[in-house]
């Protein structure tokens, strides 16, 4: 029973850590993707950086935050943001950019403003890669939020590392199972959300 309440507390911590960062990443990522759409230089910098960061192991990112920011909750958030932000920006940007020119011309032809084109044409067409990026980022975030327990962020990873230190397999499993369930739930929720917000006319393609 005591274990159960501990798991609940740590799950809440994990959710705050992982999904707080993910929410920031999504908002900032979409904003930056839109900005890169209108600024080629920013786009080049972001895509290059995203490709670089995608190759670097999460554990290295987590470790590299330590000399720069110390340990605790805040450095953990920075590590997660750094890792999650770039795939979201990259995928959203690619989605927004690769809209069939015919649609854009047609939209201009009927007199839509740039903002309207972004809202009703570019975004709906960009949903599939955008959601793929967000899903990827969500899984990464979940994984890194476990890892950051090694630098004192708390959360479910704490149980895992306590278990690893004492070879207590039960403890490790107690820590891991909620993480997996959260991961699966996120995947399902994001898939449903994507279906829901995609306009009916575009659903078949996706």
């Amino acid at each position: 029973m005591e274990m159960f309440s501990k798991i609940l507390t740590l799950t809440a911590e994990h959710l705050a850590l992982a999904y707080g960062s993910l929410a920031i990443s999504i908002l900032a990522g979409i904003a930056l993707a839109v900005a890169s759409l209108y600024n080629r230089k920013l786009a080049v910098v972001i895509i290059t950086l995203a490709n670089l960061v995608e190759a670097i192991p999460s554990f290295a990112v987590v470790a590299l935050v330590v000399p720069l920011m110390g340990i605790g909750f805040r450095p953990a958030i920075v590590a997660i943001l750094f890792r999650a932000l770039l795939p979201i920006i990259k995928n959203t940007y690619i989605g927004l950019k690769n809209v069939d020119a015919a649609y854009l011309e047609a939209a201009k032809g009927i007199g839509l403003t740039n903002f309207q084109i972004l809202k009703v044409i570019r975004f709906p067409h960009a949903y599939p890669p955008m959601f793929a990026g967000i899903k990827f980022a969500a899984i990464l975030t979940n994984g890194i939020a476990v890892l950051t327990a090694i630098i004192g962020s708390g959360g479910l990873g704490k149980l895992v590392f306590e278990g690893l230190a004492s070879f207590n397999v039960k403890k490790i499993i107690y820590g891991i199972i909620p993480v997996m369930l959260i991961s699966l739930a996120t995947e399902v929720i994001l898939t449903l959300a994507e279906k829901k917000i995609t306009p009916a006319a575009l659903r078949k393609q996706a």
Partner: protein, 213 residues
């Protein structure tokens, strides 16, 4: 500066750690490439089961890396074996998926031409579909390379050695130079291998990419 790095390198046996890292990397890549391409081809010739198998592989992909690694502990114990197995489990999906979609999305003209000159289904697979799918397969392998380097780093946490071990030591001892140097070194290795993968993909595209796929 340079002498400090040499001292770090010696003290934490980073040369040995790098070799450990690369040997696990090589082993995992060999298995996942054969397995991934094999599964991709089998599923392509067996479309009925492909959805089910891909769903199972997708499910594995959703599990966070450390979680998968740790779940293998009760089955395989500590050390190198669970690390390599986790790498393979993660890497098979991108390779299999890319192989499958590479084989499936060949321009109709090529297939028609193949049929017209009298190639059998098997010949078309071997002489047309597989060569044309190579750039996409290489793309999948590149994703797997990145995953594998990452999972091996985590292996340091379950006593597999490799470059994750000095990172972990650094974090525990709050040894900033060790963390910085090892972190950058791991990042560099990952980038080098990703770069090699990119180069291979590019060469194959140049050789086999005829405008569709």
């Amino acid at each position: 500066m340079l002498s400090e790095i040499f001292q770090l390198w010696d003290m934490h046996k980073l040369g040995l750690r790098t070799l450990e890292h690369l040997s696990m990397f090589g082993l995992a890549m060999i298995f996942s490439i054969f397995l991934g391409i094999g599964i991709g081809i089998v599923l392509y010739t067996n479309k009925k089961i492909s959805n089910t198998v891909f769903n199972i592989l997708n499910l594995i992909q959703v599990i966070p890396t450390l979680a998968l690694l740790v779940l293998l502990l009760p089955l395989l114990g500590l050390g190198k074996l669970p690390t390599v197995v986790a790498c393979i489990l993660y890497s098979v999906l991108p390779i299999a998926r890319n192989t499958y979609s590479g084989l499936a999305n060949i321009g109709k003209d090529y297939i028609e031409t193949g049929k017209a000159v009298g190639l059998s289904g098997k010949d078309i697979l071997i002489k047309i579909r597989i060569p044309l799918a190579l750039p996409l397969i290489a793309g999948g392998i590149r994703i797997a390379v990145v995953f594998t380097i990452g999972v091996i780093t985590l292996g340091g946490l379950i006593a597999a050695g490799g470059l994750g071990a000095p990172l972990q030591t650094g974090i525990h001892l709050y040894d900033k130079p060790l963390i910085l140097f090892t972190g950058i070194w791991v990042g560099l290795i990952a980038l080098i291998f990703d770069g090699i993968g990119a180069l291979g993909e590019k060469l194959l595209k140049k050789r086999y990419h005829y405008g569709n796929v």
